[in-house]
């Protein structure tokens, strides 16, 4: 018997709950998520990148500011366009690269074309993700979801230089989209700096490239831990997948082939990478 305590509890439970509590909490969730993302980015490099954010609308200007010689003196990879866009339905962090060949001797007109392609491809990717985020949001609201509680889709475009020397530049430009698995896209570029040609697996591995890649992939699939092997699709024909074309980048005396999600197995496996030694 705790009569007084029960009375006190009743008073406590009767504290009126203001109608705006729901909104306040949802706003706080979004704010927390944004801050969390930024705290991840709190590195000197990211700070430098944020500084560029507003300024680089022209290529020349971007090159001037972003003159980071990651590739030696002849060829540079620069961030050509960078922005962040935030709405109720999505948060987009976009960094689109370009190849700066201004110091490269010979005919470099190919670079303009390639940079144009990269920009257009990635902008189209971002647009696709934004549209999908909007559709997803509309469907969510149409089925009675509270718009205030909606967690925006994160869209990220970024790039990474994998290898560079006097004659070859290998890099990847990718898009991530948190709406679901299967919306990752990666574009691989392995550029011959003399001609601007995008090199193929055949160029690196020779006529037998399908055999070499298939063997390497099958061997490494065997070595996957059991819990990952179980997620592979049954009866997958690696040779067929490989001959249809597979992304790759250049490593040290090897090429690394990358299978997008859902090509070899369940989405939870993510992208799978396999190294193939160069003959």
């Amino acid at each position: 018997m705790r009569p007084m305590l029960d009375k006190l509890r009743k008073l406590y439970q009767e504290t009126p709950i203001p109608a705006e509590l729901d909104q306040v909490v949802d706003r706080a969730v979004r704010k927390g998520r944004r801050r969390r993302r930024w705290s991840y980015l709190a590195t000197p490099l990211a700070a430098a990148a944020a500084f560029i954010l507003v300024l680089n609308t022209s290529a020349t200007f971007a090159f001037a500011l972003y003159d980071i010689p990651v590739l030696g003196d002849l060829c540079r990879m620069v961030t050509f366009r960078e922005y962040r866009e935030e709405t109720d339905t999505f948060v987009a962090d976009v960094r689109i690269p370009a190849v700066d060949v201004s110091d490269l001797p010979g005919d470099t007109s190919w670079a303009d074309e390639m940079n144009e392609t990269i920009t257009q491809t990635m902008e189209a990717e971002v647009q696709e993700s934004m549209d999908r985020a909007q559709e997803y949001f509309d469907a969510y609201v149409a089925t009675g979801g509270d718009p205030e509680a909606f967690i925006p889709t994160l869209i990220q475009v970024d790039y990474e230089v994998k290898h560079s020397d006097d004659s070859i530049l290998s890099f990847v430009v990718y898009k991530l989209d948190t709406i679901a698995n299967g919306y990752q896209r990666a574009y691989y570029y392995n550029v011959d700096l003399r001609t601007g040609e995008n090199l193929t697996l055949k160029d690196f591995l020779g006529e037998d490239w399908v055999d070499l890649v298939t063997d390497a992939v099958e061997r490494q699939l065997e070595e996957l831990p059991e819990e990952k092997r179980q997620m592979l699709f049954e009866g997958i024909d690696v040779r067929e997948v490989v001959s249809e074309g597979v992304g790759f980048y250049l490593g040290e005396d090897q090429v690394v082939v990358v299978f997008e999600e859902y090509t070899l197995g369940a989405g939870a496996l993510g992208m799978l990478e396999f190294s193939v030694p160069m003959p």
Binding site: R2, Y12, T15, V29
Partner: protein, 163 residues
């Protein structure tokens, strides 16, 4: 922290937001500040979610943030007149006046110092064990117990009610 844990945190927050508000209100005593406290606590929790190592401790982890935010808000507002003793009833001391009714007693909780009040609120209204309270307030068990006794004595509540 991975995404499944973030989902756990989000659903925990949405499920218990009214409870958070009541606790915040019992510190702030006005709805505007109480909403601010809940908001700040939720932002901090999401932002610092990686500090929740064991999802099993989500309740004490979140209440630690909530209680600290509440006490900070009180401090910033600078309204600090606390006494861990009840005012003597005025006039003729009669049998009835020695026993406070629940409204007066409820109001008396607000006059407890924040440390003591925290223990009383968590023990009575959030049904936490003393060990959990010690975890929330990051104090030794003996300190938490001591504060509970002080609170109960101040409120002239039966120790048996408290335990």
């Amino acid at each position: 922290m991975s995404r499944p844990n973030e989902e756990l945190l989000l659903s925990y927050i949405k499920e218990h937001q009214e409870q958070f508000y009541r606790l915040a209100y019992s510190y702030a005593k006005n709805s505007e500040d109480a909403l601010d406290i809940v908001q700040d606590a939720v932002v901090k929790a999401i932002e610092k979610q990686h500090t929740l190592r064991d999802p099993g401790t989500i309740r004490t982890w979140f209440y630690r943030i909530l209680v600290n935010t509440s006490i900070d808000t009180l401090r910033r507002r600078g309204r600090v007149y606390y006494t861990d003793a009840l005012p003597e009833p005025e006039g003729e001391p009669s049998q009835e006046s020695r026993v406070l009714d629940e409204v007066a007693l409820y109001a008396a909780i607000d006059r407890l110092s924040p440390d003591v009040r925290t223990v009383i609120l968590l023990r009575f209204f959030e049904d936490m064990k003393i060990s959990e309270i010690a975890d929330v307030t990051r104090t030794p068990l003996s300190t938490a117990k001591n504060r509970l006794y002080r609170g109960l004595a101040a409120l002239r509540l039966d120790l048996e009610e408290g335990m």
